[in-house]
Amino acid sequence: MAQRISVTVNGTTHEAEVEPRLLFVHFIREVLGLTGTHIGCDTTNCGACTVLLDGRPVKSCTIFAVQADGRAVMTVEGLARDGALHPVQEGFHEKHGLQCGFCTPGMMMTAYALLQRNANPTEEEIRWGISGNLCRCTGYVNIVEAVKYAAEKVRSQPAAAGGRS
C-alpha cells in the first residue's frame, strides 16, 4: 500500500515511503520532523498549517503527502537564511506581530507569498491576503504592521526577499 514519494522541502529533497492517507502536514511534522508547521483546527479553516506548494500558499492539512510527490515545498523553516531572519520574520519580531504565536508560521508563509507577488501591498491587500489565516488572539493590527514592515524591507533589499524553496 505504501507509495514512494520524493519531495523537495526548503531546498532539500526527501524520499519516503508513505501511506496514501497520510496528510501532508503529518508528513512534514512527523516524517521530516519540521514542527514549525502547526496543526490548528484540522478542518481547513484556520491556515496555521500553511506551506508553499510550488510557490503557492496552501493548507497542508487538506492535502495528502502523495500529492506533493515531485513538487517543491517551503515551510517556515525555509524562511531564514544563514541564521539571518527573513524580512517577514523580522517584521513579526519588530512589530510584535504575534501573541501566542500559534498562527504565526502559517501567517508568515502567506505573507511571504503575498510579498513575492506584490512587494508594495496596500493595507486592504494585506488584510485580503491573510484572510484565510486566523489569529485567535485577534492580533491582526500588529500582524498587518509586521507585513508592512516586511514589504518595506523587501523593497529596499530585494536580495533578502528569497527563502529556501
Binding site: 496514501p20 492517507r21 481547513t44 503557492r56 496552501v58 487538506t62 492535502i63 495528502f64 502567506t110 484565510g132
Partner: protein
C-alpha cells in the same frame, strides 16, 4: 483526524481516469482540489476505497475564449480565475464570485470542476453558472457530451454526471454587447459558506431594455437554484426600480431556504430579495459601461 485507508491512483490521461471509474464504480472517488472531499474523508463522512487523483493529467486547467464561449478547464483553481485578466475584463459575474469563494488559501487548491461536480447547494459556482447559462462538458467511456446547466443539478450533492463520467470543461457563453453581470454574497466571515448569494447576468439592447436575464441563487434550496420567475419579471422590461423590485420579490419567493445556524428561513429569503436587487442594479450599471 485521519482518513480511512484507500488505494491511490494517478492517471496521466482522462481515458485512463475514466477506465478506473469503470473498474471501481461507486467505490472510487475523483480527487481534484480535494477541499470538499478531503475534509469529508477526515471526518469519515466519506471513505472511498479508491482515490483517482486528476492533478497529474495535463491540459485540464485553462481559461480561454473560442468563437462562442469562455472555455474553462475543470482543473482550473478558483485562484486562477480570480487572477485572470480575461475573466476580470469580460466576465464580471465570474470575477465577483472567484474572489469570495472560501478563502485565498482554499482558492489556491479548490477547482471549478470539482466544486460543480460536488453539487453542493452552497457552492458558489452553481448559482453563477445557472445565471450565465453555462454548459458542462462530461467525458466518459463513449467520449464527451455536453450537459446544459439547467439539467446538471439533480439534487443535493447529486449531479447529472454518470458514475463513469468526469467533468472536464465548463463553457460560458461569451458576453453580448450591452451585457453585464454581478455576484453578491452575504457571509458571516471569510471562508464560510453563504448565508445567501445571488448571481446575475443580463443584456441591455440599444433602448436600454433587458434581453436575456439569468439569475442564480446559492445556498437557499436543496440545489443551486435558477430564479426563473424573477428572470421573467425583467425580460423585455426596462430595469427601473419598480421592475428590479418585482424581480427581487420573485427571487425571494422562488428561494427555498431552511433555517440553520446561519439564520432563520425568513431572514435568508429576505436576503435573497436584497441581494437580487443589488446584484441587478450593479449588473445594469456594468452593462451601461460603469463600475
Amino acid at each position: 483526524m485521519i482518513p480511512d485507508r484507500f488505494e491511490y491512483f494517478v492517471p496521466k490521461t482522462v481515458p485512463e481516469a475514466v477506465g478506473l471509474l469503470q473498474r471501481y464504480g461507486p467505490e472510487a472517488k475523483l480527487l481534484a482540489g480535494g477541499h470538499s472531499l478531503i475534509p469529508l474523508m477526515k471526518l469519515r463522512l466519506a471513505a472511498p476505497r479508491y482515490l483517482v487523483d486528476l492533478n497529474r493529467i495535463p491540459r485540464l486547467a485553462y481559461i480561454e475564449e473560442d468563437g462562442a464561449a469562455l472555455r474553462i478547464g475543470a482543473l482550473t483553481r478558483h485562484g486562477d480565475l480570480e487572477a485572470s485578466d480575461l475573466v476580470r475584463a469580460r466576465y464580471p459575474l465570474l470575477a465577483d464570485a472567484a474572489r469570495v469563494i472560501a478563502d485565498p488559501l482554499v482558492r489556491n487548491m479548490g477547482t471549478i470542476g470539482g466544486s460543480l461536480a460536488h453539487a453542493d447547494p452552497a457552492g458558489d459556482w452553481g448559482a453563477v453558472m445557472l445565471a450565465a447559462r453555462a454548459e458542462i462538458v462530461a467525458t466518459g467511456p463513449r467520449g464527451a457530451r455536453t450537459i446544459p446547466i439547467d439539467g446538471f443539478f439533480v439534487d443535493t450533492f447529486t449531479s447529472a454526471l454518470e458514475p463513469d463520467e468526469i467533468l472536464t470543461e465548463i463553457r460560458v457563453p461569451k458576453p453580448q454587447r450591452g451585457g453585464g453581470g454581478a455576484y453578491l454574497k452575504l457571509e458571516r466571515k471569510v471562508g464560510d459558506f453563504a448565508i445567501a448569494a445571488v448571481g446575475v447576468s443580463l443584456g441591455l439592447d440599444g433602448r436600454g431594455t433587458c434581453g436575456e436575464v439569468g439569475i442564480g441563487l446559492c445556498n437557499v434550496g436543496p440545489t443551486s437554484l435558477r430564479a426563473k420567475r424573477a428572470e421573467g419579471a425583467l425580460q423585455g422590461q426596462k430595469p427601473d426600480d419598480a421592475a428590479i423590485a418585482r424581480a427581487a420579490e420573485a427571487a425571494a419567493t422562488e428561494s427555498d431556504p431552511v433555517g440553520d445556524l446561519r439564520g432563520p428561513a425568513e431572514f435568508k429569503r429576505d436576503m435573497v430579495r436584497v441581494l437580487t436587487a443589488r446584484a441587478l442594479r450593479l449588473a445594469v450599471q456594468r452593462a451601461k459601461g460603469g463600475a
